[in-house]
Amino acid sequence: MRVLIVDDEPLARRGLRHELERVPGIEIAGECANGREAVLAIVESNPDLVLLDVQMPGWSGFDVIERVGVEAMPAVIFVTAYDKHAVRAFEVHAVDYLLKPVDPERFRDAMDRAASRIDSLDPQRRAGRLDRVLRDAPATRAGVPLDRVVVREQGKLFFVETAAIDWVEAAGNYVRLHVGTRSHLMRGPLTRLAGRFEAGRFVQIRRSALVNIRAITSLERYGKASYAILLRSGKTLISSRYYGPRLRELLGS
């Protein structure tokens, strides 16, 4: 099991490292001192488990998950010194956490649980839990809109710049991000992704499609209340009648 350590305090990181070194079958995938590093490291090294400090300067642990996205996020054990709200959310949603100072016994229990869950727990369910924690847990998140999203494909993680996305299509439990001629699948509903983008950057044209406003090259009336939308990739999309007025309003302003 490959484990990433995220904590802003060097001593705390060393402490977790000492504990990890005593657990057999653990490989330390890296150490990160802040949220920004953590997001990069998660994408680059795709660890199986992240020991994630909740309170860090800049991006908090919750920001990290938000940035990576609950679907792409590996298994997580939160680590916190003191945060009543977060701890309540962890308890309620059965997400593992450790309190500082870290109790070695609890640490090993949590690692055992993580190891068994990684094999058995459906990723969708794990994503659901994380999502609920994000919703309930605290206002310590920066809440800055996403400038890039993390996509997991064939076991690998990589970034997609939101500006590069032409449009997003809902496909069952997934969304398909269309970037030029390529496309990437992401778990989760379209509405969740829509909520993470900067307001006014994307516009919904159908119940199942979200278009990057900057990717639109031209717009033509198509029937009564619909539009034919030509994208920079050459693709043409048709808006539904319901979303037509909204589309016009947004483009006009």
Binding site: R14, R36, Y82
Partner: protein
């Protein structure tokens, strides 16, 4: 009516004892006596609507008591009941006292006999008493007379001789009436003392609760749980890696904890030099936690070190600066603490080189710590202090703190 007309107005009270007594007879201030409150004693006697009823009922009971007494005495002697004197007169007498009572209560309220000017009040009351008592008994006899004439129910000759025979009664009644004047006033004072006592007990309880709250808040703000548990975590790691450093950290932490116990006690001031030692203990812990990321500069003028400051005053300000300074760049931050004497003021500045107030809403920035510091300073030094937060021209945020320069 005389009872209303005799009420002294506010000028009488503030302009001396003589006015109080003469004003009592000559004043014609109108009927709003009961509802007007004195500028120095803002407590209204009782709300006037229920007050009138209470007074009348009380005096009717008193009259009933004395009437019964008279009747029983006569019955015990085997004499017939004297309806005129034992019953009618008693009720008249006490109801007329009831009519005078608002005046006496108002006087009792305005002229409290306790305190430094108590003797003046006593003089005023004696003056008012000397008027009220004879007037009260005279009115009683006049009313008695009028009532007998109006109804003529009882066998009595209404003549000059009858009135002449009442002179002794007026003299007698004036003296007993003087006593009743003081008794009515005394009832007011007793009720007032009880009310004050209750209010004071309530206030004391509230004060105690708020003081306890303040102490708890101070403690919480001074040493945040997040800091405490992260420090303990660091200590627990060091116990394995570097026991001497772990021990050092525990010592520093206990120093801080000990000082934080005195935080709620605002009389507890320490010289700036001691406060700086405490700050060093805190910074020692923070440096151990954050390593190279945290740079600290102290610029302390030697003349400032003897100044007294509230204990653990600097630590929350520095904690705030560290939090926001480090947040600015994930590579670390520098904190500068400076102190100097400026005439009769002590000027302390805590500066960070973080993002400044631009990206942080000032409201969010001014967290519990700062609000708490402000409150403590205000409690200690009143208006002779200030604490401001501003953006430094070279970046970052400065907390500037000014308080009166004083030494032990």
């Amino acid at each position: 009516m005389l009872a209303e007309g005799a009420a002294p107005d506010n000028e009488c009270v503030s302009s001396g004892a003589a006015m109080g007594t003469t004003g009592a007879v000559s004043g014609t201030t109108g009927p709003q006596v009961a509802s007007r409150s004195h500028p120095r004693h803002h407590v209204p006697v009782i709300r006037s609507s229920s007050r009138g009823v209470k007074i009348v009922v009380t005096f009717l009971l008193v009259a009933l008591f004395f009437a019964t007494q008279g009747v029983m005495v006569r019955v015990s002697r085997g004499l017939p009941i004297d309806w005129q004197w034992d019953v009618m007169h008693e009720f008249l007498y006490w109801l007329i006292w009831a009519a005078f009572t608002p005046l006496i209560l108002t006087a009792a309220q305005r002229w409290p006999v306790s305190g430094d000017t108590g003797w003046k009040s006593v003089a005023r009351h004696l003056g008012l008493m000397a008027i009220v008592a004879p007037v009260q008994i005279s009115i009683t006899y006049l009313a008695h007379f009028a009532l007998l004439r109006a109804f003529g129910v009882l066998p009595v000759e209404l003549s000059g001789a009858w009135l002449e025979a009442r002179v002794t009664g007026v003299v007698w009644g004036t003296f007993t009436g003087s006593l009743y004047y003081w008794m009515i006033a005394a009832v007011y004072w007793a009720a007032e003392f009880q009310r004050l006592y209750r209010a004071e007990r309530l206030q004391a309880a509230q004060l105690e609760a708020s003081l306890a709250d303040a102490r708890l808040n101070a403690l919480r703000a001074q040493l945040q749980p997040h800091f405490l548990f992260n420090t303990l975590n660091a200590v627990s790691v060091l116990t394995v890696e570097d026991p001497p450093r772990a021990k050092q950290m525990v010592l520093r932490l206990s120093e801080l904890l000990r000082a934080s116990m005195d935080v709620g006690d605002d009389r507890h001031e320490v010289p700036l030099s001691a406060e700086l030692e405490l700050l060093q203990a805190y910074l020692g812990i923070q440096r151990a936690r954050f390593g190279e990321r945290l740079q600290i500069r102290l610029e302390i003028e030697p003349s400032a070190t003897a100044a007294l400051v509230p204990t653990l005053l600097l630590q929350p300000l520095v904690e705030n600066a560290i939090r926001h300074g480090l947040e600015g760049s994930e590579n670390g931050g520098a904190i500068t603490v400076s102190a100097r004497r400026n005439g009769d003021e002590l000027v302390i500045e805590v500066r960070d080189d973080g993002r400044g107030l631009v990206t942080d809403a000032a409201g969010a920035r001014e967290g519990v710590g700062l609000a708490n510091s402000k409150e403590r300073l205000a409690r200690l030094y009143g208006d002779h202090q200030y604490l401001v937060l501003r953006t430094h021209p070279e970046g970052g945020v400065v907390v500037e703190l000014v308080l009166p320069f004083h030494t032990a």
